[in-house]
Symmetry: C2
Subunit: 429 residues, 2 copies
Amino acid sequence: MDAAEFRRRGKEMVDYVADYLENIEKRQVYPDVEPGYLRSLIPEEAPLEAESYEDVVKDIERVIMPGVTHWHSPYFYAYFPTAHSFPAMLADMLCGAIGCIGFSWAASPACTELETVMLDWLGKMLKLPEDFLAGTEGSGGGVIQGTASEATLIALLAARSKIVKLIQTDHPDRSETDIISKLVAYSSDQFCATLGTTPSCAFDCITELGPICNAEKIWMHIDAAYAGSAFICPEFRPLLNGIEFADSFNFNPHKWLLVNFDCSAMWVKKRSDIIGAFKIEPLYLKHDHQESGNQSHWQIPLGRRFRSLKMWFVFRMYGLKGLQAYIRKHVGLAKEFESLVKADQRFEISADVVLGLVCFRLKGSNELNEILLKRINSARKIHLVPCQLAGKFVLRFAVCARTTESRHVREAWSHISHLASELLQELRH
Amino acid sequence: MDAAEFRRRGKEMVDYVADYLENIEKRQVYPDVEPGYLRSLIPEEAPLEAESYEDVVKDIERVIMPGVTHWHSPYFYAYFPTAHSFPAMLADMLCGAIGCIGFSWAASPACTELETVMLDWLGKMLKLPEDFLAGTEGSGGGVIQGTASEATLIALLAARSKIVKLIQTDHPDRSETDIISKLVAYSSDQFCATLGTTPSCAFDCITELGPICNAEKIWMHIDAAYAGSAFICPEFRPLLNGIEFADSFNFNPHKWLLVNFDCSAMWVKKRSDIIGAFKIEPLYLKHDHQESGNQSHWQIPLGRRFRSLKMWFVFRMYGLKGLQAYIRKHVGLAKEFESLVKADQRFEISADVVLGLVCFRLKGSNELNEILLKRINSARKIHLVPCQLAGKFVLRFAVCARTTESRHVREAWSHISHLASELLQELRH
């Protein structure tokens, strides 16, 4: 395929994508396929000779779509949202075309620099303390990681490297292995200090944890993977109070800030802490501007895509006000669902509804709720997943899709309520 | 931006991408900007109000392109190639639109299943031993990692978890911490067993290392990040002999197999070894088909994009023969460059030219070669990076871009040769 054919096929793909997203609610949100369905639909080996593009495209509806869980359907209420927007998709096309690997400043200055500035923009939207920003002379700064898991691992490794150096300053005779074997990481059952846990969107009290960590020289990493996006709204920003005690912080714009996966934003107060834990410099990566932001020293992978383009497109095309409106709309929909649940005496709310997640259940046994969830998901009209809260089996209703509106939420509730009525009636007989 | 506007803007972006790539050789391969150039070109904060798409697009040429190192220019000969093809870009558009997060089978069956089958396809192209394939009943299989660094880390963690279990079977009283503190990882100065090192594309003798590892119950991980793609050609497949001794293997289709970054292919002989090291199962990830390929148990991140679509599009639209032809063309271009160097008595070849990399230098001091490289890169006509081989400063000429032709290679050589003449002449005066 040459550039001329790409012009044609690319435009067809743009139309396919637009069609898919305009009509997504007509598709069944959760697929009917059984494990192993796909292998039987395609050959056992790659073709020897090239196939035509038509042949490949035909197989999207035949092979792929029957096995897709439609995360961007307004009937998808499972897990947490994954971000999705047209500006981000356009930026990703550009990212693919440039196709640079930004493992050093020289490998693509624009890639390295836009990332630093975008993380400053985002840090300012969140009103992070000045220490976390790179600015022109700051000692902190941000980096894009693939996922919150990677950010947490990086924070752990940086914390370990920092404390080892600190101890060795006072005790130069102690070996690294010896020190490491005595280190302790504190966490709750959700790990590290978390703002907005996955099961119930609960918040650790970082204004209490923070001073203890600082006094005891414990590295404090805060993970707000889902909830972090909401902190761009003044009314939710108090949830981030205490951030000034943290050494590192991350949240995922790829969850709730309209920047397609992957884009986990991580900030540290001292870049030197994190760079010290990872720096590698073989000759083939050396260049004249060695000290200019080398984000591969902040991560496990060496390679990195030009992911900040997505942030740049999204932040500019929505504007801070547009992003805030988006967050508020989702929280409003969750509140609407909450009030529908509350108005039904058969149900109870299982955790405070702070943002876009509602944890709820039928008053009654875990088994009853397990059956209800099974029926909801088997009906394939909407898709939910459960969680466990203090021994109770709970249903999670997460507002996920960009296009979810009040009518979808009300429809989802009336569907759930109807299935509950059926179930309770059967049990009475 | 709604779907209707995306139709229009998406098509404009397709044209922009096609224009960029059709005319890439007219752009200066390496940028002129100085560190910090970008910050001064854009505002210090995200806009409060949404901006128009026109405003964003205008800034691509004003802000981004002046700072791009054009990895896909046929004058780019630095590092190693990063893969880039139109079919992969089309697949990535689809991946972005579906926007699923494949952390479990249920989260998107097609995403999980296509990945398993594509890794089987690719494993067969490489003629990997049957044990590495998943098939319908195999105990091995493949997974897409982001980068070779991640694959290596995963292999290390899996190896550690396996040996701890093995030792605890014989000595149930020994603690994990105690065992771990005594474990040893063997590596060369390029780490693990490597086929095609970055500096010079050198090959470890895995037919010698393998039996020792097997006899001593040492986990053998083989990294062929760059070279691996070449093993799809029968004439290069012998370089992979000894793979039968390995426990895990990875290479990067995102380097040399036309699948855009990120796509590092990793195989293990025993899926259970690797899954055992990572398995996490909170309730919100449980589903009815729990045992059906859960690739997030094979990696650090929980989230994962639908990356196998890129492989599927590329393998089908090139066919095995097309991919082989592509590899052979690049090797041929490297051989051509090698013979040009060899014909010039002032130069020497510094390492065997096995695949698409030529390591060469002026006969003379390291300083002389450093000056030559500086002049080559300052002239901005082509872009190279150096390496260090046995104390010598060496220039690396890696055939990188998909569109590199013989004329580009000859032009590059005549440019290098001309700069060398100038330099040597100056030194004589």
